[in-house]
């Protein structure tokens, strides 16, 4: 197949360009984050990440992810199920709406919530009556994060579910299974890798979101600071070593996410191959 490949010099040029690009924009910054974090020694690093305000930022970030990820998983599965397995009027509108958070700038998303729930907002009188704070408080951060990470799970599941069709669900129902049992025992196991992939991406974004959260949080130290906001504050206060130390936590999260992501991709590819065999290789007497 030699005639189908490009000459060696073109191949090498392309590879080197890609590697240079990767190195410059991905690996170099990552290395920089870690070197800067350890510039003043491991002690400063440890001190920075065990500082009280940092710990509270970690806690808040985890709390926000722990609320918004399950919410979006529930919603994403429901939406994907409805869209992939049923036909109903307004399906395309729903599909477009799911993509909305990707299309809107996160800052705008944050502002929407300020306009709705802020002290001058539409819902302000009600909130004042109940003495419930959303903006510059944890609920606002959760809302903004949930909004921004809304599409991840649904977007991952819809193509997987659509590709699998309705045959297995129909088979389950014809065998007497209820809708819920069909979902639990047939639909869900078939999409588990796609679902996990969506959850991991959703989680990464929920923990790393800056723009929308920045608008609604109010940057109250030890109260409404998430990890990305905390990094920014430390940096603005010229505490570079501390800022980078905290940034390593987020960088580590990114690395773990990437590793999990490629593991799952490998798994799903393998499953897709098996499924394909099942679908097309129905004529051969393979197994004895």
């Amino acid at each position: 197949m030699k005639h189908l490949t490009e000459p060696a010099y073109i191949r090498w040029t392309l590879i080197i360009v890609a590697l240079l690009f990767l190195g410059l924009f991905l690996i170099l910054p990552l290395v920089a984050v870690f070197t800067e974090a350890f510039r003043q020694g491991a002690e400063v690093f440890v001190a920075s990440i065990t500082e009280e305000e940092t710990l509270s930022a970690v806690k808040l970030t985890l709390l926000v992810a722990a609320i918004s990820v399950p919410l979006n998983v529930t919603f994403g599965i429901a939406a994907a199920w409805a869209i992939a397995k049923f036909s109903f009027p307004g399906k395309n509108v729903l599909l477009t709406l799911i993509d909305l958070p990707f299309a809107v700038s996160p800052v705008i998303a944050g502002l929407i919530f300020v306009l709705l729930f802020g002290s001058q907002g539409v819902a302000a009188p009600l909130l004042a009556e109940w003495d419930f704070k959303i903006i510059f408080a944890v609920p606002g951060i959760v809302l903004a994060t949930t909004f921004v990470t809304f599409p991840f799970v649904a977007r991952e599941l819809i193509p997987v579910m659509e590709a699998q069709g309705r045959d297995e669900e129909e088979a389950a129902v014809s065998l007497g299974a209820s809708g819920w049992k069909t979902f639990l025992r047939v639909t869900l196991p078939n999409v588990k890798w796609g679902l996990l992939y969506g959850v991991i991406l959703c989680n990464a974004r929920a923990m790393g979101e800056f723009g929308a959260v920045s608008v609604v949080s109010g940057h109250i130290r030890g109260m409404t600071n998430t990890l990305p906001l905390h990094v920014e504050i430390l940096y603005n206060e010229y505490q570079f070593a501390a800022a980078f130390a905290v940034a390593t936590l987020l960088a580590a999260l990114a690395l773990v996410t990437l590793i999990l992501k490629s593991l799952i991709e490998w798994k799903t590819e393998r499953q897709a191959k098996l499924d394909e065999e099942q679908h097309y290789d129905v004529t051969g007497e393979r197994a004895g």
């Binding site: 129909e170 014809s174 025992r185 499924d275 679908h279 004529t283 051969g284 007497e285």
Partner: protein, 373 residues
Amino acid sequence: MSIEVVNITKSYKSFTALKNVNLHIPEGELVALLGPSGSGKTTLLRLIAGLEQPQEGSILFNGEDNTNRDVRERQVGFVFQHYALFRHMNIFDNIAFGLSVRSRKTRPSKEEISEKVHSLLKLVQLEGLAHRYPSQLSGGQRQRVALARALAVEPKFLLLDEPFGALDTKVRQELRRWLRHLHGKLGLTILFVTHDQEEAMELADQVVVMNEGRVEQVGSPEEIYHHPANPFVYSFLGRVNLFHGRIQNGKIKLGEAEFETDWKDKAVEAPAVGYMRPHDVEISLRPPEGKSARSVQAEINHISLLGPIVRLDLKRLDTEEVFEAEMSRQRFMELNVEEGSIVYVTLHNVSIYVDSQPVQTHRTALVPLQASV
């Protein structure tokens, strides 16, 4: 259990899949729904199963109305075209599924389920494969797993959608024989969809021929083959030759060939079409004895040797219409003809249909006449 389909109409946004379909399937029979793709046969099967809802009409099981009953309550065994096995479950769990999803009150014990699954595996001759996954089985094996899974819930009858469509010829023939055997053993009503007329003829007690959302004819394989109700059924059930002609003075003229009819109205003059099977074409080297009006001359264009039979492509010298003839290899040897030979052809068993309303409809009315001796 008998199935009754009454006045069913089903339409989708842009087309009508079934128009006023009526059908009665007696208990214990093996019935084929035969038709080209798009004829509505799969839709009818899915309506009976409850996977689709009709716009009009009703579906009765043993006289009991099931039209508005949910799929899960109908207790129907449905085998899907691509089997729809649960890909993440092994064969055991696939077959056990229908029993294990029952509510706690009606669910059999683990031991009972296991016993049932193993007896079904034995029935479908797949013992020892209980722990394999669907992707590890061949097409024929998957088909049998799908059947076992449907049988596990002890359905009132079995519905099979193109059961052998995706299998190669050899496996298909084995499975056909096996299904016939299974039907004899279980005595269950079985309704299956197929587009393969040979499959329908070989397997079924009754064949329902469908076309464009309508039932064209219902009958035993013998009946529909030898007494097709209309040209569609005639041409769908095997190879067919078509001759165009006219009805005149109560006689049908197809080129130089002439056929007497019992057509009373001698004044009618209309286009007529004669249908005949290739194996009813008799070929001889000399003109047939006596003056036969059903004999014409033809030239052999091509000879295909197909094992035990020989197929000739011929062209009539009078009308230039091309047609086929089939004969045994032995008869072909006796004739000793080759491509280009001119032979005498006698047309037996011609079914003639007169287009009674050529403008308004494509469907032709059957003239009550079989032009055989």
